[in-house]
Amino acid sequence: MLAFFIARRLLLLVPTLLGVLLITFLISHIVPGDAAQLIAGPRATPEIIQRIRQEYGLDKPLHIQFAIYLGQVLRGDLGKSIRTRRPVGADIRAFFPATFELTTTAMLLAVLLGIPLGVISAVYRDRLPDHLSRVFSVIGVSMPIFWLGLLLLFLFYIRLGILPGPGRISGDPPAHITGLYLFDSLLTGNWRALGDAALHLVLPSFTLAFAVLARITRMTRSSMLEALAQDYVRTARAKGLHERWVVVRHGLRNALIPTLTVIGLSYGELLGGAVATELIFAWPGMTHYVVGSMTSLDFPAVMGVTLVIAIIYITVNLLVDITYALVDPRIRY
């Protein structure tokens, strides 16, 4: 049954992915001006521009161009970046680990802090801890990420000097294995790099986690309140079970299902939030790369990264749906 559900979900992804490809393709073809001229640079002769137009297939009709693009993507070829003159796939591989490390740390932070905060808030309903956590979550969901990042940078780096500033590491990065600095330095036993990379992660991951943390706290609180009002919780209490056991086993376990959805949906927000965060903290990640590509109208790179980000987002949401079906046996689509 579950296998059938997963297969159905995967099948439904095919039209969505085709649509995603079409959108990324169309976006990069609404670029004003002549793309070939852009690639060739300002001093190119008409012959060179003509040659580039042929080389990139820009002289063909739009639907043929799309078919060619589709074929390339299916073969795993994302084209060549105009700005870096390297294959887009190689660029993405180079910049992906930094983004992955940042968003994963932020998500862990948000989940590990948000769920306990939400539980505390619900247990102490309408008392001081609840008021504090509610005020915090209203501020959290309203906070411009880029401004929070600048405030933290100003306070902890410029004024207090207790945390490192922009960048992933000061000094040499650890030997390249996965590209994830924490992981690589652990594997190679490079303790200096491990500590340094971890410290560099503090401000950006907290900045990025903030809004999602607030959302998770909020959702956990409200679904905890709902769960704790159920009859089985009253029964459990009436049986004389320890309050902590009731909260965790009967309350939290059931409250986690809606929270899970928020986590999945928030992943897109994290990828979006990574743009401003990477910009402020000079974090050499994928979104930092794509902003540069967008500014210089490097459309093969924009198409490639947008596509990869959409696929990551789709995959995360698929995983959430599957987990959802696993933890809640009532759900079958």
């Binding site: 969505t16 990324t24 004003p32 880029f146 609180r221 409200s222 927000e269 743009v275 980000i309 987002y313």
Partner: protein, 292 residues
Amino acid sequence: MHWWIRGYATRGSEWRRALGRLWRSRLALVGLAIVVALVVVAVFAPWIAPYSPTKINLRERLKPPSVAHPFGTDDAGRDILSRVIYGSRVTLRICVLVVGLTLGIGTLLGLISGYFGGWVDEVLMRVSDVFLAFPALILAMAIAAALGPSLENAIVAMVAIWWPRYARVTRGQVLSIREIDFVAAARAAGASSTRIMLRHILPNCISPVVVQATLDLGEVVLTAATLSFIGFGAQPPTPEWGAMVSVGRNFLRDYWWYTTFPGLAILITVMGFNLLGDAVRDILDPRLRRGP
């Protein structure tokens, strides 16, 4: 009977009760006060602002907050307070345009999708799936960058990423209303599809859409400010809060006030919209009543 239809039928008393609830919630009142203040500031900006938002005065460059310039001055000697005040106009304009356009387009498409069903519905919903498959900000950035960085193009980009939400909410409502007796009665009486959709279905499915719109206002302000901060929205020297923080970033080390006040304006505005949005949701949609 569905709650929204009941609400529609006995509108007077429902509204009175709703206002009573709004009045009792302190957080909602704070939200309302912030939004009212924003509108007042935006409307009366020329009378409130002590200086011109764009006039360059190099002798007054990067002055810290003082009595003459409560928020300090920027790198061109412009009064930051006046720029923040004028920025409310830009923000409000973005809100009205983005929410108005997405509401119009999304509701119309959702109405068509839900009412006609079949392949029309299938196509529209698959298209909206595709738009929802991207993280919103990334898609907005890509569209805004491709069209060329400007405030107008950022607005177009935001409308492009936002309409599917309204289409989906409306469609869901239409599906549950379509089969109710009064629609069948209208159809039997020979009313046209357009008339049924606009006169009988739309009024009965509008309140969840309004809830969605109020909840989205804060996010629209945040997204617009973020696009401007990254460089794909309003361009300096437009007094737009995100763009101001973006320029101020280069002066972060020694001139903290440059980024602080425009950013604070964004935070407070978004908070106002969010608090008000929560209240409106609680009032119009009792099923979703959940405290912040």
